[in-house]
């Protein structure tokens, strides 16, 4: 049976989920009250979305800086187009790499097409780990840069659903 929420309720629910579940014994009942639906309707909708693959994961979403992961590097590489898929798959399976995305070059300003995120406690540790990864895959001679983050101006989840007033993020 398909969920019984109408389109407006679905959009409202998505915007509330982007902010997060309330820390309440029955969080889906609380969300139901907000959108004019029952706990059961909300749960069925969320389970339906989960089954459809709308969520990458549904769990605790942490802020790595507060947990001591202060050395956060974006490794960018300029890999020839003919090789980028193979290299991306190699790096994507490497322990210690949290994200690995292919993105377009923007010449002449930006020539890197493969982006990886590496988080660690100490800068030197992250640099050493990345050097070892590049050497292990024979990538050290391709142009690459390490862009450490030195400050977070904003860290929150994506806001895909249309705007709702309660969805500010600092």
């Amino acid at each position: 049976m398909s969920p019984s929420l109408d389109t407006a309720q679905q959009l409202h629910l998505r915007s509330l989920l982007e902010v997060g579940l309330p820390l309440h014994s029955q969080p889906f009942a609380v969300l139901g009250e907000r959108i004019g639906a029952t706990q059961q309707q909300v749960l069925e909708q969320v389970q339906d979305w989960q089954a459809q693959g709308l969520f990458r994961r549904f769990g605790l979403i942490l802020k790595h800086r507060a947990l001591g992961f202060r050395a956060n590097a974006m490794l960018v590489l300029d890999i020839p187009d003919a090789l980028v898929e193979r290299v991306g798959e190699q790096l994507g399976q490497t322990a210690g790499i949290n994200l690995c995305y292919q993105r377009p070059r923007r010449l002449p300003h930006w020539s890197y097409n493969l982006f990886c995120m590496v988080h660690g406690r100490e800068r030197a540790q992250v640099e050493a780990r990345i050097a070892a990864i590049l050497a292990a895959h024979g990538l050290q001679d391709y142009p690459h840069r390490l862009l450490f983050s030195s400050k977070a101006y904003k860290q929150c989840g994506g806001r895909y659903a249309p705007q709702q007033p309660e969805r500010a993020c600092g």
Binding site: L17, E18, G20, L23, Q26, P27, Q39, L43, V46, W49, Q52, G53, L54, F55, R56, R57, F58, G59, L60, I61, L62, K63, A66, L67, F69, M74, E85, G88, E89, L91, G92, I97, N98, L99, C100, Y101, Q102, R103, P104, W110, F115, H119, G120, R121, L147, F148, S149, S150, K151, A152, Y153, K154, Q155, G157, G158, R159, Y160, A161, P162, C169
Partner: protein, 152 residues
């Protein structure tokens, strides 16, 4: 922050998924052999310490809407001002200062690509800087969780 044993186990066990049932915190408590109140207290403390962003979904970009990674090359003396201008847009998240000529990096998310284009144009007009628009073409690894192994 210092993590107590329960917080550490909550993070390790439930970063990637939690029971989607009527009383998820009680279900989590049963798995960790503690009380629901202890789970709720631990999560509230993590949130107060700004270590927990939220409990909820990370949306699949391609299913949920449009997103892109944006970089700006901001003159050092204008950084705070430009970061604040950028942050005013609700489509902006994960805005970081990074060590490069392109020094301000943020993610834009919106229901549709047209809205991303609009925000990019607004940011260009507000800041007088040309944004690099770097949408994901292919994901080779997307897992955003990470192990607490070497956490202090």
């Amino acid at each position: 922050m210092h993590l107590d044993d329960l917080s550490r186990r909550l993070i390790d066990r439930f970063q990637h998924g939690l029971p989607l049932c009527a009383e998820p915190y009680a279900a989590m408590a049963r798995e960790l052999d503690c009380s629901e109140a202890a789970v709720l207290d631990a999560l509230a403390l993590l949130q107060q310490a700004d270590a927990l962003s939220r409990v909820g979904p990370v949306f699949e970009h391609s299913r949920a809407g449009a997103s892109t990674l944006v970089a700006l090359a901001v003159p050092e003396e204008r950084l705070e001002q430009v970061a604040a201008q950028v942050n005013q847009h609700p489509e902006v998240n994960h805005n970081y200062l990074r060590e490069h000529r392109y020094n301000l990096w943020f993610v834009l998310t919106a229901p549709h690509r047209a809205q991303i284009d609009q925000v990019l144009a607004q940011i260009a007009a507000e800041t007088g800087l040309a944004p690099l628009d770097l949408p994901m073409q292919r994901a080779y690894r997307i897992d955003l969780g990470f192990p607490l192994g070497d956490t202090p």
